[in-house]
Symmetry: C2
Subunit: 147 residues, 2 copies
DNA sequence: GACGCGCCTTTCCATCGTGGGAAGGTCAAG
DNA sequence: CTTGACCTTCCCACGATGGAAAGGCGCGTC
């Protein structure tokens, strides 16, 4: 199975398959001797699907590395898997809370804004006040999404 | 006022001040002729505070470019400001919903996981099923946070 | 006058996962 | 033999931020 076929079978783009190999998330694929083309089997495709599902739940490549090795280890304690999942949930909740705080603040400001031809605008007034986010009981931290 | 002073006065790192100048978010600062040091005044510091506050509400540099020009335009219609804010709120809500869906799914799976020495684990079982996220009524898209 | 410290300057690199594109090899069908 | 579909590697870009290197300038101190 060539990379394009594996890509269609797994839903992971060929680009990403090569990337996952490069960063060590998956073992380097076998290569056809004539071609130097990568070749994949059903097991590889299952791994790719696992990765895709984990990515869709927001796990980072590092976390997936750990999840994959637990998956392969038939003697794993489910405790370890649960720990990774719970930690990820906590991260998600943290980011959600930050973004929720931003959205709440902005909804409030927008609700106070006439939104017509006139220039007066509580949104700009708030930004211009330049207060640090913690200053008025708002708790949104500076960097809510990954950067 | 040198960049370090402006940084402390505004809460924006010197690094970021140079970056904002580079990408055109702020006008290039005046330069001392001897030094070639940037020099800032209170107005610049106010702009930097505006930017910091906007960043803390999750606005992108592009959005802040627009907000700044509206801020400077005393004849702006508040409608335009509100539109930017509302659109940003919608983006935030979208991302929040995606992450909420991930967290919900993971909380459910984790709740079903014994989390002990035994290897059986519904979390891994779910990942191994490799279903596309839309397949079982879950709606989490693939890329919830900025990348 | 020499030295060190602190500040400034620019430039390059890394993050994280993903897509885009170039330049070139391989293969099967027409 | 050509065309087109596939594969390969390598480089670049994103966004906002921090880090580090290498060097210039100014002030205070010996």
């Amino acid at each position: 199975m060539n990379i394009g076929h594996a890509s269609r079978a797994s839903g992971v783009s060929a680009k990403m398959i090569r990337y996952y190999e490069q960063v060590g998330l998956i073992r380097p694929a076998e290569r056809s001797e004539a071609n130097n083309y990568r070749s994949f089997d059903e097991r590889n495709v299952n791994e790719l699907r696992f990765i895709r599902r984990a990515r869709s739940l927001g796990f980072s490549v590092d976390e997936i590395t750990n999840l994959l090795s637990l998956w392969r280890d038939r003697a794993r304690p489910s405790r370890d898997v649960k720990a990774i999942a719970d930690q990820h949930v906590a991260e998600l909740e943290g980011r959600i809370a930050e973004m929720q705080a931003m959205a709440d603040t902005l909804r409030h400001l927008s609700g106070c804004c006439a939104g017509d031809d006139r220039p007066d605008c509580p949104i700009l007034a708030d930004l211009a006040s330049g207060d640090p986010p913690a200053g008025r009981g708002r708790r949104a931290a500076a960097r809510p999404f990954g950067g």
